[in-house]
């Protein structure tokens, strides 16, 4: 899913899309005299946008009463601006599921419950994580439209050379394998990193710890909604494990390695060119590798988990695209009909999943015969269906809490954070205060 790095490119693509959209809408006008024009905004661009347009075209063909116009390259700033101005498209979608709290709470995306009830759709058709990141406090203003699932990638050729058999299943195995697979230059700098645990290095090491949380079974908040990073010992365990591996490499050496590694979404990605033996990454990498380095001998598996909690093996971090209907929409029923098709129709989900190699988001579509079989990709379908897989907590402040966590973790890995437990306690207090401020604007 993640790709285009530079805003410039995105702008170009957007321009192209707008021009293309203008052309198609001009020619589609001949469809039926009464066809209603509806517009859908999505974040995808380039090849992914093309795949999405293919899915929509199929819908368009079977629904003579509407003509759908797809606009790509949209981000949340544009969605918010449109809703504020009242000049909204009929359907909107966002990559930032963390913002769902705000969209639902404010009513900026309308409540979908009446539509779901009317059409007798049970949200139980979506896996639990996807149900969670498409609502806020029980108010459902969005549905999931494909998901990103994080799993483990390892270089089979390097494993063979090092005499390693299967992928690691525990964190201590991961550490041992990482040390075995790492190669250094004569000056001590890192030539090949076995596993790079540096927070901020590629998406698999998100500094807000979202990707690692399910692997340690770490819980964000208690039942009262209070932050429990200092109370759930899993967090300290996670951070200590991560820091010990950082220290083995040398913090500065890893920094240099990272600075020299190519952009995550370029064809010179460190794993793809053999500078990284193992990593945690999203399912989209499968498509990247088959496109950019089809001869790479690699395997996928669930990511290793905390040694003391082997039952978690098979789980992973899930994050997805959300889709909804903005308030002030002109063609509510037509908009709903399109949303329903895109999010619940197994065939549509499977076709789109094949196109962009993201994970389809209904239980039925996970096993749909329309999904192109691929052993590498299958791992991610299984992780997605795993009941222990988790996503980020949805709050009223988007992912603001993540920024506070990140501020702490990057200091921690650099060795500038001092006492871990005290730091986590302070962090809990900061997050609680921030959430309170964001919710009611009140100060405790």
């Amino acid at each position: 899913m993640r790709r285009v790095a530079i805003g410039l490119l995105a702008t170009l693509v957007l321009c192209a899309v707008v021009v293309a959209a203008m052309r198609t809408s001009a020619s589609a006008g001949t469809k039926t005299a009464k066809a209603t024009n509806i517009t859908i905004w999505v974040g995808w661009s380039a090849a992914e946008l093309k795949a999405f347009k293919g899915v929509v075209a199929e819908y368009d063909k079977n629904h003579p009463e509407v003509t759908v116009k797809v606009v790509g390259g949209i981000n949340d700033d544009k969605i918010t601006a449109a809703i504020r101005s009242g000049n909204v498209p009929d359907v909107v979608s966002s990559f930032t599921s963390a913002n769902v709290g705000n969209y639902c709470k404010s009513g900026a995306w309308i409540d979908l419950k009446p539509f779901l009830t009317k059409d007798k759709i049970d949200v139980g058709m979506f896996p639990k994580t996807s149900q969670y990141y498409t609502q806020y406090n029980g108010k459902r203003c969005a549905l999931p439209l494909l998901a990103d699932v994080y799993g483990f990638y390892y270089n089979k050729k390097m494993f063979k050379a090092a005499g390693l058999k299967g992928p690691p299943k525990t964190m201590s195995q991961l550490t041992a394998y990482a040390k075995k697979l790492t190669k250094r230059n004569s000056d001590g700098s890192i030539k090949v990193a076995g596993y790079n645990p540096f927070l901020g290095f590629y998406s698999g090491n998100a500094p807000d710890l979202t990707v690692y949380a399910p692997l340690f079974g770490a819980k964000w908040i208690d039942s009262g909604g209070k932050s429990i990073l200092s109370k759930d010992p899993a967090w300290a365990k996670l951070l200590r494990w991560q820091k010990s591996l950082i220290d083995w490499y040398g913090y500065t050496k890893l920094q240099k390695f990272n600075a020299g590694a190519a952009d995550e979404f370029s064809a010179s990605h460190a794993f793809e060119i053999g500078k990284l033996a193992m990593m945690i990454d999203g399912e989209w990498r499968v498509a990247f590798i088959s496109r950019e380095h089809p001869s790479l001998d690699y395997g996928t598996a669930p990511a290793p988990v905390d040694d003391s909690r082997p039952g978690l093996y098979g789980a992973g971090y899930v994050n997805g695209t959300i889709i909804g209907i903005p308030k002030g929409v002109k063609h509510k029923d037509q908009a709903w009909s399109l949303v329903k098709y895109l999010t619940t129709n197994s065939h549509a989900l499977a076709v789109f999943s094949n196109g962009v190699r993201n994970v389809p988001t209904t239980k039925a579509s996970l096993t749909s015969p329309d999904i192109k079989p691929d052993a590498h990709f299958k791992t991610f379908l299984q992780i997605f269906a795993n009941p222990n897989s988790t996503t980020s907590p949805i709050t009223a402040a988007g992912n603001a809490y993540g920024t506070l966590i990140q501020a702490f973790t990057v200091k921690w890995q650099a060795g500038h954070a001092g006492d871990l437990q005290k730091g986590l306690q302070k962090l809990d207090k900061q997050i609680d205060a921030q959430l309170k401020q964001a919710q009611a604007g009140g100060v405790p």
Partner: protein, 319 residues
Amino acid sequence: MERRRAKRKAAWRRRRLVLLLMAPWLIGFGTFFGYPLVMSVYLSFTHYDLLSSPKWIGTANYRYLFTQDPQIGSAVRNTIWIIVVMVPLQVVFALGIAMMLARARRGVGILRTIFYLPALAPPVAATLAFVYILNPATGPVNIILKHLGIDGPLWFQSPSWSKPSLVILGLWGVGNIMIIFLAAILDVPRHLYESAELDGAGPLQRFRWVTLPTISPVILFSVVIGVIAGLQYFTQAYVAANVASGQASQAGDQTVNNLGYPEASTLFYPVLLYQHGFRYFNMGYASAMSVMLLAVAFVVTVLIIRNSRRWVHYVGAAK
């Protein structure tokens, strides 16, 4: 009685004309400055998520700002750092180049163009280029340093070097101030130098007692502008953090937050303000932050201008 009324009428007519002539400015100023200013002050007392209508919460935003926001401390410290270090350096650097250019005899046009050119580079492009050439592993600067036997710093990757790297970027693009200094230096009346020379003043003394006092209003101007720009320092920090962190991910995904990278060392006050207002739907709080920024900018400017009376000389001023 009659006369007074006629007089008042005439005065009102005159005022009406003045108002009419000023109308374009008044409307523009009111719409684009007055209204947003008043709204910011109002919003700073509300909880406003951009999507639902603002809710009055009194001084809660200000209390959070002064007593609880865990990020505000480093944001303020970083902003003070950039003002205290970058503004004086920029002034000295720009003045130095302007002095050299003023003395150049041949190729004046070309030299001026070359030194002014960086100021034309868009800040985003310039920052991208600097992050590239200062890349600790693959950037040309560190490669050259390595050949010289020096282990180069981590530049934008290191919390202690990221701000100095931004200062280097700032000095490179100093052309705008430089060109104003150059104009001021060329404007210094020749006869002042001649009489100073007759009095036996050397080059340093001429600079100290003729050039500096004459161009002091321009120095004041550039200091004030520099300080205000420092308070609003945003674009370069935003781009550098995103690019250097290597996670400038796909256009639409705003989940990953690299602002302030590395270790909040480039988290300047406006960057934090942006984060709250546009990433976390917390526009009420962002407004409170901007009101404080305005207040600080105002106070600092007043202080500089008051203090300047001691060292700024206006040629031809009736003093």
